[in-house]
């Protein structure tokens, strides 16, 4: 039922320790407090996640990481998402960490990876610019050579972890090439504004106006930069799907429990066939999502080319986004009026599903992308 692509003892142990961590370190009251405060990251909790090694799960051992794979990152993300942990785990430990790990600038990269893994520095990837577009070719932020470094201009949108971040990896167009730059928070010319997502977490817009970065902050350029962004995006897309699966597990279990215990007309509402069939359909969606995710995790690590990798990610995200949203939406319906109250947790699951389903491309986007990549549709 859970992800068992790494079917190993190691995977099982990791799953147990995430479950244990979640049980001790967080609960819905904390999630609600952070929502009320608009807080994106509790740095104390973040540090303890770092101590378990989870922030550095994809970071090379030489930089203090665990050097494990995307399957392990997915186990952690799924476990955290089950209790709606708001901290931007996937954004930092998968999206930013993968970009960094694939960067060329050894010295800068190693230092940043080390700080990312220890939790000292919360690093976000600022790459997307347009809603409903996850391709890198449309990136428009410009990097112009200036006094031995670069001047960055443009706007990055929908940056997860961006409000809490200590710095950003910014993708830009440098002449005809792509390039990646490290931009610490507080760099003159960089403005960060947050807007509130459905689940209460902030999403950041980063405005760059004549923002100067030294040449030493260039992390990668050309094909290496493109490969780093695209790999990170595809990996994070799959891990975000694992988060959706975590949400599905709790949301559906919550609905099933309610069906067992809520009595109307003198019997549990779960005895009514209309609700039973609805629940079975939701269960089938969860099973499909978990099978596709498991399949995707097994295959994406050794995908032979970028196109195959992207197609795998799209297939996984398309199913998980759709299934996650459906299970969370119907959780409200199955609960009836109580499900529509702010006090009840079903709404929190729906809101997280809304955010995760749209992050890094929703189901509609990924189905179209899959059609182009795998079915050779010409639209």
């Amino acid at each position: 039922m859970m992800i068992n692509s790494t079917g190993s003892e190691h995977g099982a142990m990791l799953r147990d320790s995430v479950a244990d961590f979640v049980a001790r370190g967080t609960d819905m009251a904390r999630v609600r407090r952070m929502r009320a405060d608009g807080q994106e990251c509790d740095r104390a909790l973040w540090s303890s996640m770092a101590e378990f090694g989870w922030l550095g799960i994809l970071v090379p051992e030489a930089c203090g990481g665990l050097a494990l794979g995307i399957a392990e990152a997915a186990i952690v993300a799924e476990g955290l998402a089950g209790t709606l942990v708001p901290e931007p785990y996937t954004a930092v430990a998968v999206l930013a960490a993968t970009v960094l790990a694939k960067s060329r600038n050894g010295e800068m990269r190693d230092g940043l990876l080390r700080d990312l893994a220890t939790g000292k520095s919360l690093i976000a990837l600022a790459w997307q610019e347009t809603a409903g577009d996850i391709e890198v070719d449309t990136i428009a932020v410009r990097a112009t050579p200036f006094e031995g470094g670069y001047k960055l201009d443009g706007m990055k949108r929908y940056v997860a972890g961006g409000v809490a971040a200590d710095g950003y990896i910014v993708t830009a167009r440098a002449g005809r090439e792509f390039a990646l730059f490290w931009v610490p928070r507080g760099t003159p010319g960089v403005t960060v504004t947050g807007e509130t997502l459905a689940d209460g977490r902030p999403t950041a817009t980063i405005t760059l106006k004549d923002a100067l970065v030294p040449r030493a902050h260039e992390l990668a350029r050309g094909e290496a930069a493109r490969d780093a962004i695209e790999t990170a995006r595809d990996f994070a897309t799959v891990v975000a799907s694992a988060e959706l699966l975590g949400v599905m597990h709790r949301a559906l279990d919550m609905s099933l429990n309610y069906m067992r215990t809520r009595v109307q007309f003198g019997k549990p509402i779960g005895s009514f066939q209309a609700l039973q069939h609805r629940a079975v359909d939701l269960y089938i969606q969860r099973q499909l999502a978990s099978a596709v995710l498991e399949d995707g995790l097994r295959r994406i690590a050794d995908a032979e080319d970028a196109r195959t990798r992207a197609a795998i990610a799209s297939r996984v995200k398309a199913r998980c986004s759709e299934a996650g949203l459906r299970i969370a939406r119907e959780a409200i319906q199955i609960h009836g009026a109580i499900g529509f109250t702010d006090e009840y947790d079903a709404g929190l699951y729906l809101k997280r599903a809304l955010v995760l389903a749209s992050w890094l491309g929703n189901a509609a986007l990924h189905r179209r992308r899959y059609a182009r990549l795998a079915l050779e549709a010409q639209v």
Partner: protein, 383 residues
Amino acid sequence: MSATDYNAMSDADFRQEVRTFFERNYPEVLRYILRRARWDEMRDWWRTLYDKGWIAPNWPREHGGMGLDAGKMVIFLEEMERHGVARPPDQGITQVGPIIMKFGADAQKAYYLPRTMSGECIWCQGYSEPNAGSDLANLQTSAVIEGGEFVINGQKIWTSMAHDSTHIYLLVRTDRQAKKQEGISFLLVDLKTPGITVRPIRNIAGHEEFCEVFFDDVRVPVDALVGKLNAGWTVAKALLTFERLNIGSPRRPQYALRRLEMLARAKGLFSDQGFVDRYTALHLDIEDQGSLYSRFVDQVKRDEPLGQDVSALKIWGMEAWQRLTELLVETGAEEGVIEGVRDVDDVGVDFLSTFYYSRPSTIYGGSSEIQRNIMAKYVLKIP
């Protein structure tokens, strides 16, 4: 005992051998026939498989089968579907043979098993009745013991291929006092026995695949009984889960998917976003079913028993298949509702047969609604 230990072969080698054999020996005209094959058409193919020692892939080698383990069995079935090999009237092989092996007396094994393999005994399944469809345990056809014989009276219906069969395996009521499931017995009956009338029923596709079978004071010896008296329900249930895995193979909709793809290319529909969106959603529905299917297959390969959640595969797979054939008919537009193989921009498609063929899949083998009831009770454990 069959000489070859197929389980010792690598999966790839086995798959290649099966594929090559089908490609060389299976009659081209019978590929993807989109209906149940009749015995007259399949007789030669049966003989070919029998001579090769492949007529009973699921049977143990000591009974003359191939003795395939679950993993190899899945490969065998996948290759059948890949090449569009029709199932002959094979319920003797898939159903009653294994039941006789598990529950039958030695004399029943010695008599029926070799004859079932050779094609001398062709079996049909007498389970459903006019008032016992989804509620199968409500069946009323009775068998009363009189003078060392069972006397059978009643009616079976939706009996696939009864008109091509020589024998029928039956669920009959042998105790009217017992609770529904506990008064049922399992009998083996020769269809030539006096008092039996078989009447074919034409289905909406225009084919005569299923039949009514009437029993009017039909007398059979008591050794027709398989297993214990009144234990027929347990006997019949023994095989159901593997069936649902087999039925949920993502290969089944491949013919319709392939035709739709060819048609869409010919008509330039892959530059129509509206079409592409729907086509892709269906394509993913079927591909994702494949991921779920593989997970169950892996479970079988690890020798873990399949649980009731395998019903998910049948529900999802059959409903996705139907949606696919609906889009195929729609894409055919006016051509999509004309009978026979239609030539549309040089692609030959039998729209209606494809559409009809998928219809009963959500009814037979336990309707989708019954499967959902089962899952709600045994998997989700909601009251």
